[in-house]
């Protein structure tokens, strides 16, 4: 199992009222204080160095634009620094938003990071959140076309010796011969993060890339694994843990109370319905960006402004359909701002008050090392991911609490997680090549995940 660390790197002084009123995207940059920014960037880089010392296999970065939600507006800058100041950890980018810019520049940047780091880059691609399309004026109606074409171009730029001429549908280069090319051959691994868009899972299955679900509800995640599984079977291979990754929010402290106190901040950093503060619906769902199924859900939601949304999709555990997987994504991102005006106090209460729901659904696992280990086991047994990324420290959590949390996790939780990885045979994409398992003769493909462990937990721990 590949065990990595991730944080959004929030600008933790974001003005809460303003964010609740307008969203993280849309909070003006006049609130950005470069002196505080300086401190935070250094803190987040130091944290990655600490992660290496603590024994993580990888450190993961992401990027978002025009938002205090994440300070990594251009994560390749951070990755470049990490390439130099770390020695062993994989530098996992989840991911570069392909539709936002020229793919040749990206091929060059990533190749440099791979070469400087001595071949430690894990590349990853995203379509970019809806709001990103506004921030960089990338036409959302061509989002998936840009994504597909940019991906194919980058792989070609990394593997086919130049110079050559490229005339595509959206991108054109008259002279392609990037120096350098990546150190890893034929190219770095590519891991694809997502919020359960079935289209992306199908694409990953076709490319044999690991798909990483970002702290999504367990039920639709298992469903998505199966969508991937079925496509893989059509293509003639059996999926394994190496095809899947999962990001889990975990907070540990010396006492349950202290852990919950810290975890509560995450409610403002993306856990539960706090995630719907990411951006207002018009920015989350730009035209042409959404799949047909997601659009249908959006249509139902937004054509009746008086209709109340359920507070937590998948509250009830059970079988899910592909339509429901899409619906969950939409619901998760559109809890607030259905009405014209937002009551700040009420919304704040709703966000923070949702912590018990989020703990119950394992949106966050928090507690003492002893109490979180069995819960992590349930997640690992349910999803069987070959990549497991601990997601921490979002929202306004202090540096001291962040470090304490990380150290405790490394000392008292990680050894147990590694043991589980071995026991459950959760092979990472470095231990087993994704897409190389043969399909059982004439049989149905086997599932990697199963809801049974999760259901058993729920039964034993009624909410």
């Amino acid at each position: 199992m590949h065990l990595a660390y991730f944080t959004e790197r929030p600008y933790r002084y974001a003005p809460q009222d303003r964010v609740i009123e307008k969203g993280f995207f849309g909070t003006p940059n006049s609130f950005f204080d470069p002196a505080k920014g300086h401190e935070l960037y250094h803190e987040y880089i130091d944290e990655k160095i600490l992660c290496e010392e603590l024994g993580f296999d990888g450190v993961a970065l992401n990027e978002h634009h025009d938002t205090p939600f994440t300070m990594g507006a251009v994560m390749d800058v951070e990755a470049s620094i990490l390439a130099r100041v770390t020695k062993k950890v994989k530098i996992i980018l989840i991911g570069n938003p392909l539709p936002l810019g020229g793919p040749l520049r990206l091929a060059e940047e990533l190749a440099m990071i791979d070469v400087i780091s001595g071949g430690r880059l894990v590349a990853g691609w995203v379509r970019g959140a809806g709001s990103e399309q506004f921030a960089h004026n990338a036409n959302p109606a061509y989002n998936r076309e840009y994504f597909n074409e940019a991906h194919d171009f980058i792989v070609k730029a990394w593997t086919q010796p130049g110079p050559w001429r490229y005339e595509g549908r959206h991108f054109h280069y008259r002279f392609v011969d990037p120096w350098p090319v990546p150190m890893q051959k034929p190219h770095p691994q590519m891991w694809i993060p997502g919020l359960l868009s079935p289209e992306t899972a199908l694409w990953c299955a076709e490319k044999r890339y690991p798909y990483i679900a970002l702290a999504t509800f367990l039920e639709p995640t298992v469903e998505l694994w199966n969508i991937y599984r079925d496509r893989a079977a059509e293509l003639g291979y059996q999926v394994g843990p190496e095809n899947f990754g999962y990001m889990q929010k975990v907070y540990v402290a010396e006492t349950e109370e202290k852990a919950q106190e810290i975890a509560k901040f995450d409610m403002f950093g993306g856990a539960g319905s706090g995630y719907s503060l990411f951006a207002q619906p018009a920015y989350n769902f730009p035209p042409g960006y959404n799949s047909k199924l997601a659009t249908r859900r959006i249509a139902t939601q937004f054509s009746d402004p008086n209709k109340k949304r359920s507070s937590s999709p998948f509250q009830a555990a059970g079988e899910t359909s592909r339509a429901e997987v899409s619906a969950a994504q939409v619901d998760h991102r559109s809890r607030f701002w259905q009405e014209a005006t937002v009551d700040i106090e009420q919304t704040r209460k709703a966000i923070f008050g949702q912590l018990p729901d989020v703990l119950n659904s394992f949106g966050i696992i928090c507690g003492t090392p002893k109490s979180v280990i069995p819960k992590i086991r349930v997640v690992l047994e349910t999803l069987r991911p070959g990549i497991f990324i601990i997601w921490q420290n979002d929202g306004p959590i202090t540096r001291k609490d962040r470090e304490n949390n990380l150290k405790l996790l490394a000392a008292e939780v990680m050894p147990a997680v590694r043991e589980m990885g071995k026991e459950l045979d959760l092979k990472s994409p470095y231990e087993a090549k994704p897409g190389a398992r043969p399909l059982a003769h004439a049989g149905k493909p086997e599932s990697v995940g199963s809801l049974e462990p999760w259901k058993a937990w729920r039964q034993a721990h009624p909410y």
Partner: protein, 263 residues
């Protein structure tokens, strides 16, 4: 429904695309180019103009009903597509009326070849960057908010509730198709072609009527004035107490002006 008898939908095969066309009325043909949210349905003004004209309303490719055509990258391409449509259907020269995005399409067609039109009416047309104010960024609004912004007073505008068959999931899904198609055509430069005011100056013999709501919040009136300056001999009619949909907000004045101009 009694209204339904006034129009029917036909399929026209053009260049491998099955263009859907709404037709209704009798008289000299009038090409109607619809706006960025799609064809809003058959309204009172359609009925009134259909008494003297046979209305031909192509549903733009990719806007949810007619299939998308991959080579149409921008409004000029769409204008070229409709030039072929007119030739194939032996309709030119024809009278044309275009609304908002549809007005822009008509203007591009006229700039390319004024002889395909007999008379041209542009209503709150996009396509020219307004010297004062900005074209409303519809993409920063959800569709129902875009719709509400298109009239001065949604509560008291006749037929507002009938547009697109009324707000509901079915209309919403079509709007999303239309808005995506609009994004493909006009995401950047947003809803205008910087060359268009210059290209329009080739027009020297096309009678043109420009109709604008004084309080148009989607395409500000200054864009209408810019059109008026660019198109030789054009006349700008500005309607008071009116937003982006003069055809329903000031129906009587609108019908009177358009009928008078086309007769």
């Amino acid at each position: 429904m009694a209204e339904k008898a006034q129009w029917h939908q036909e399929t026209v095969n053009l260049d491998g695309a099955e263009l859907q066309v709404i037709k209704g009325g009798a008289g000299r043909p009038l090409l109607v180019l619809h706006e960025e949210m799609g064809h809003p349905g058959w309204l009172k003004w359609h009925t009134e103009l259909a008494r003297e004209h046979s209305l031909i309303i192509p549903l733009h490719p990719g806007f949810g009903v007619s299939p998308r055509i991959d080579w149409i990258w921008n409004v000029r391409d769409l204008a070229g597509f409709y030039a072929r449509f007119l030739r194939q259907q032996k309709l030119n020269p024809i009278d044309v009326i275009g609304f908002s995005l549809g007005g822009w399409v008509a203007a591009e067609m006229a700039a390319n070849n004024q002889e395909q039109f007999r008379r041209m009416v542009l209503v709150g047309a996009a396509g020219v960057r307004p010297p004062q104010g900005e074209i409303l960024d519809i993409f920063q609004l959800m569709a129902p908010a875009e719709l509400a912004a298109s009239v001065l007073d949604p509560e008291n505008t006749p037929e507002f509730d009938q547009l697109y068959g009324g707000i509901g999931p079915a209309a919403f899904e079509l709007w999303e198709e239309a808005r995506a198609a609009t994004a493909r055509l006009a995401w950047v430069p947003y809803m205008h072609n910087p060359s268009l005011p210059h290209l329009l100056r080739v027009i020297d013999s096309l009678p043109t009527l420009l109709v604008w709501g004084r309080e148009d919040r989607v395409v500000p009136l200054s864009a209408g004035e810019a059109y008026q300056q660019a198109i030789a001999g054009s006349r700008l009619v500005v309607l008071d107490q009116c937003g982006h949909r003069p055809e329903i907000e000031q129906n009587a004045a609108f019908v009177r002006e358009v009928k008078g101009f086309l007769s």
